[in-house]
């Protein structure tokens, strides 16, 4: 990442006022966009509903089809889209800064492959273990993600020393390939119906079936959000280089660990909820940095909000463009994100 502009490394005090104004403006702008997406998306679907009827409290919920469609089919889905989009985009920003690599995504570190392997095993084995609001597949997916993150973390850290980003990246990529091979093996051994179900899971799906799964992963996202809130200033310096950051008083080892763990947590929660939805975590950070600049204090919250709006919009396309047939949302994000990213690359070159 080319984050060497002087405004980034300038002392925070001298740019306090402009950055606060910019942050406020950015949050307002992107927040409005995200809010608009979340408010408009539930109005559209494969059937027509009357909003007045949906919110009419005089009709019992059991008899109010409009309210059922709005609150049971559409709202959980839009909410899941917003949360997953925000988590993946924010994790993408953090990992691109941590690894100082513009191609890093939330799925680079092997977390999503571990998560997918967990889900595949749960589907193939017909697992029936549930924990609170988490049904077996999301639960196994979380366990898989934690195992993968723990392996990569253990390989890349040495006590008291900064993380080796090269090891982090290579271990992540290798673990991704290794888990992908295991996923293929599990799919190959599974029967036809299970194999089809696993393939569908891998395409990503925001039809989470209610608010309970969202509530289940919310605590993890809360913790990740708290870490994201304290990271940006250190990430600004870290993205210039570990040595520069260290000379300016950043506890490099601590920041790297916090960045890795929070990004892994956000990714695992997002994947457990909706499967591995690609391209949000790479396209959104680049797009937002293009508009707001590279300062993470602005780019990180802006990416989260834009990621929420982007995924909600993609899901809207996914469920309406070929209705009643639903296109997997991962296909839509890749079809919009892929060409866009190529255009961005060519334009920058």
């Amino acid at each position: 990442m080319r984050a060497t502009s002087s405004s980034v490394v300038a002392p925070v005090g001298s740019t306090l006022r402009p950055i606060r104004q910019r942050l406020l403006l950015t949050l307002l702008g992107y927040g409005t966009l995200a809010l608009a997406a979340c408010l408009l998306a539930p109005l559209v679907g494969s059937t027509r509903i009357s909003l007045a009827r949906a919110f009419d409290r005089s009709i019992p919920f059991a008899d109010n089809v409009d309210a059922q469609i709005f609150f049971l089919a559409r709202m959980p889905r839009v909410l899941a889209g917003a949360i997953v989009g925000a988590a993946l985009a924010a994790a993408g920003v953090v990992l691109q800064a941590l690894l100082r690599n513009p191609l890093a995504t939330p799925f680079t570190l092997g977390v999503s492959a571990g998560s997918a392997l967990g889900a595949m095993l749960a589907i193939s084995a017909g697992a029936a273990v549930a924990f609170g609001p988490l049904s077996p597949v999301p639960l196994a997916s979380l366990v898989g993600a934690f195992v993968a993150a723990a392996i990569v973390y253990a390989l890349a850290t040495r006590p008291g020393r900064p993380m080796s980003t090269a090891v982090l990246l290579l271990a992540g990529v290798t673990l991704n390939s290794f888990f992908s091979a295991l996923i293929l093996f599990v799919q190959y051994m599974a029967d036809f119906a299970e194999a089809y179900r696993t393939v569908r899971w891998l395409m990503g799906d925001l039809d989470v079936g209610g608010f309970a799964p969202i509530a289940g992963v919310l605590p993890l996202l809360l913790v990740a959000c708290a870490a994201f809130a304290v990271l940006p200033s250190s990430l600004n310096l870290l993205s210039v280089g570990a040595d520069v950051a260290a000379t300016r008083g950043v506890d490099v080892a601590r920041t790297q660990r916090l960045a890795f763990l929070s990004a892994a947590l956000a990714t695992s929660a997002a994947v457990a909820l909706a499967g591995p939805i690609g391209f949000v975590g790479i396209v959104v950070p680049h797009l937002v940095r293009l508009m707001t600049g590279v300062d993470h204090r602005v780019a990180l919250p802006a990416s989260a909000l834009f990621g929420a709006a982007f995924l909600v919009a993609c899901d809207l396309v996914a469920r309406t463009v070929l209705a009643p047939v639903e296109v997997p949302v991962g296909v839509v994000t890749a079809m919009i994100g892929g060409p866009f990213f190529l255009w961005l690359l060519v334009r920058k070159a």
């Binding site: 950055i19 606060r20 942050l23 949050l27 679907g45 494969s46 059937t47 509903i49 019992p60 919920f61 059991a62 089809v65 059922q68 469609i69 609150f71 049971l72 089919a73 559409r74 709202m75 909410l79 049904s135 119906a193 089809y196 179900r197 569908r200 039809d207 989470v208 079936g209 209610g210 608010f211 309970a212 969202i214 509530a215 919310l218 996202l221 809360l222 959000c225 708290a226 994201f228 809130a229 304290v230 940006p232 200033s233 204090r297 919250p301 009643p324 047939v325 639903e326």
Partner: protein
């Protein structure tokens, strides 16, 4: 300072989401599940085998929608499609105001969603002949066609007994049953014995083509 404000904003948004989720969950809990004793009059079937069974027990006119894989009996052609095992269109199902939805055993998410709307579901998993008879009887009760279900089941039992009586005392050949989803594929069904029954063609590696001996 900015970080604290940001953290506070995020926290507020999350608290608002939690409060909203809690409110809707309470609204869902407040739905008293309707008494399940009345026969279902608007049925959505997501399992083709059960659709066929409904028509066999004369509950066909109560079926309002079927899965995207249904093609039998011919009457289902005019009915709306609401997805299938992996992609049920919840919104369409709800809009049809069904009072009974027939689901497959692994669709637990959909069942939970429908339960919150106060809609009864019947969960089915493929099993042996006994599962078939039990399902038919339960569907008969649920749709108000218990007598027809009983008659249909007795008819099938008579046919099976007739086959058993016909082959009693005869030698049992080793049987391979080959079938697929393509039309006419039942032509490939064959029965053989003697010196083995498989002849593999040399080139396809995994799914070896089988020719009758």
């Amino acid at each position: 300072m900015a970080a604290r404000a940001k953290g506070l904003t995020i926290l507020l948004v999350l608290v608002a989401i939690c409060a909203y989720v809690g409110r809707v969950s309470r609204a869902e809990q407040a739905i008293a599940s309707r008494p399940a004793t009345a026969p279902a009059t608007r049925i959505v079937s997501l399992v083709p085998a059960l659709t066929e069974m409904l028509f066999a027990i004369e509950a066909g006119p109560q079926v309002v929608a079927v899965s995207s894989y249904d093609d039998f009996p011919p009457e289902v052609q005019r009915l709306p499609r609401v997805g299938a095992l992996l992609d049920p269109d919840v919104e369409r199902i709800l809009s049809l105001r069904p009072d009974l939805v027939l689901t497959y055993g692994s669709q637990d998410g959909l069942e939970a969603q429908l339960a919150r709307a106060g809609i009864r579901t019947y969960s089915y998993r493929h099993g042996g002949l006994e599962v078939l008879f039990r399902t038919m009887s339960e569907l008969g009760t649920a749709t108000g066609h218990a007598a027809e279900a009983g008659r249909t089941a007795s008819g099938i039992r008579r046919q099976l007994d007739a086959i058993r009586a016909r082959v009693r005392g005869r030698s049992r050949p080793r049987v391979l049953l080959v079938f697929g989803r393509e039309p006419q594929s039942l032509k490939q069904v064959y029965v053989s014995g003697g010196r083995g029954f498989l002849l593999f063609s040399p080139h396809p590696r995994r799914s070896s083509r089988v020719r009758p001996t």
